[in-house]
Amino acid sequence: MFDLRELYQEVILDHSKSPRNYGRPANANCQAHGDNPLCGDRLTVYLNVQDGVVKEIAFEGSGCAISMASASLMTEAVRGKTEVEARGLFKRFHSLVTEAEPADADDTGALDKLTVFAGVREFPIRVKCATLPWHTFTGALDRRVDMISTE
């Protein structure tokens, strides 16, 4: 049971049962939709980005506990961060959930609460559940960049 508790930590269960920043903010200026057909996880991430800063972030969707908790904790982690900081955080998060020895293990402080997802590493097929919200988030950022570049 030890390894399962490692995956399903209290923080994860709490966020999956009562996700933070759930909904669609009125002032969203970009969004993206993400699907994980294997699990049936699906979510939409809404952003309000101004001057390269994530001012507002929220999400809607449904899925397994890992994906919902990851989305919820992600919204808390990236709100108020610059785009560059947020993308850097995803990089570290990705390494946390996929690599036996995360690239910058000494720097996990920056991941803060997100370190509760370290257990996902032991469950390779669940990695996508944890990273889907982040891929969707960066997808929303990319799309906005596209929009800007075509203007």
Binding site: K17, S62, R126
Partner: protein, 423 residues
């Protein structure tokens, strides 16, 4: 001494009289002995693909090690022996389904290819704009998408027969869908997501009364039920070998001879021709007309052995054992208040689909996996029926001939662990 050999010996007294000893039978399946995360494997996903008995593994090994060559081509010994074994397998399938003739049995890759073959060969030739095909809500995607592709090509119309809250076909509603434009009913024998057994005799009679052809998807039926295509009088019957304890990559299309003869080839190539010049090609007779290219030779032979295996155990005795396990598992799952069974038809094969409160099926699957229990979590390639029950995904435990009531109890213990963690 394997259980089959035992059964074969005792079959002198009639196989139906000997008791079904599941512990003996389990000895025939090498894979079941292993531990997963230090716990005995509890394999409850045979509806996705069944495990293989030693005789099947051995038949394939023997074929490659001792007696292998391409078929229908060589004048030499090994080719003749292999051809003989391949055609014997066809005869075994014919007897298994009680088809009239062996030439009514076409070897294909699986049920999916069989349905695509009928859609592209029969459907594309004989159906036109506005012709209707009736399906049911319970179809696997492989009995939906090929017809949608035909809709793109020929403008046929798809109509869907609904089910009730137990997951049973609504026969009156089904009958209402059968009209002058209906050309085909394509329906599952048993639902892979719910376990429901379709009342085929009525379904087929209602269609035939109106001159409508019927294709039956038998994937989930052949491992559990005695199937007699002449008694059913269906026009096409399809199934996959890998769910019947045989190899993957081999499956069967049964079609009435007169229908197969009227149909154009599905694919072109070797084996399906009598003579080829650049001006004109003369097609081979059925079933070879539909078997272009070198087939899955050892797959067909392995499937023949799998059929020998289940036949020796006795289809009725397998069914009785599985129904006992199903009844026990159903009772035990009903003890869990937060569990919702999806698919509660009166007549079912040994498949149990369920959801647990707000716990996502994939979380359930992960937790059960750590208990050594293999279940399927997801939409089971049957999204329309999932939607019908408002559950985008379920956990599915399916029981094969080697599963025990004790394993059903392990499942219940596993589910209690899920509830403990998700509290």
């Amino acid at each position: 001494m394997s259980a089959t050999a035992d059964v074969l010996r005792s079959s002198r007294n009639g196989p139906e009289t000997a008791a079904f000893d599941v512990w003996r039978v389990r000895e025939d399946f090498p894979i079941l002995k292993q531990k997963i995360y230090d716990r005995p494997l509890v394999f409850l996903d045979s509806a996705a693909s069944a495990q293989k008995p030693r005789v099947v593994i051995e038949a394939i090994r023997y074929r490659y090690a001792a007696e292998y060559a391409n078929i229908h081509r060589g004048v030499y010994y090994l080719s003749q022996r292999t051809t003989q074994a391949f055609e014997d397998a066809r005869t075994k399938v014919q007897r298994f389904l009680n088809a009239r003739e062996a030439r009514e049995i076409v070897f294909v890759r699986g049920a999916t290819e069989a349905i695509n073959l009928v859609a592209q060969s029969y459907g594309r030739t004989f159906f036109g704009e506005g012709d209707e095909i009736v399906l049911s809500t319970m179809e696997h995607h492989s009995n939906i998408v090929p017809w949608q592709m035909l809709r793109e090509q020929k403008g046929v119309v798809l109509r869907v027969a609904p089910i009730n809250d137990a997951g049973e076909l609504l026969l009156e509603e089904y009958e209402k869908l059968l009209g002058p434009k209906t050309k085909l009913v394509a329906i599952t024998h048993c639902s892979n997501a719910l376990g429901t057994i379709t009342p085929l005799p009525e379904v087929i009679r209602l269609a035939h009364d109106r001159g409508i052809r019927v294709l039956v998807d038998g994937c989930q039926a052949v491992p559990h039920l005695k199937v007699d295509v002449q008694e059913l009088d269906c026009d096409f019957y399809v199934f996959s070998g890998h769910k019947l304890y045989g190899p993957s990559g081999i499956g069967v299309l049964y079609g009435k001879a007169e229908l197969l003869e009227a149909m154009p080839p599905y694919q072109g190539g070797g084996e399906m021709i009598i003579s080829v010049t650049f001006e004109k090609t003369e097609y081979n007779a059925i079933p070879y007309k539909f078997e272009a290219g070198t087939p899955h030779i050892t797959g067909a032979i392995g499937l023949g052995t799998a059929i020998d295996y289940v036949t020796a155990l006795g289809t009725e005795r397998i069914a009785a054992h599985e129904q006992a396990v199903l009844a026990h598992a159903t009772e035990r799952l009903k003890e869990i208040n937060s569990l919702r069974l999806i698919g509660t038809a009166e007549h079912k094969v040994s498949i149990l689909s369920f959801t647990i409160n707000d716990v996502h099926p994939h979380d359930v699957g992960t937790i059960l996996d750590r208990e050594g229990i293999a279940v399927r979590a997801g939409h089971h390639c049957a999204q329309p029926v999932m939607e019908r029950f408002g559950a985008p995904a379920t956990v599915r435990a399916s029981f094969g001939l080697y599963n025990t009531t004790e394993e059903a109890d392990v499942l219940v213990t596993g589910i209690r662990k899920v509830l403990e963690i998700f509290g």
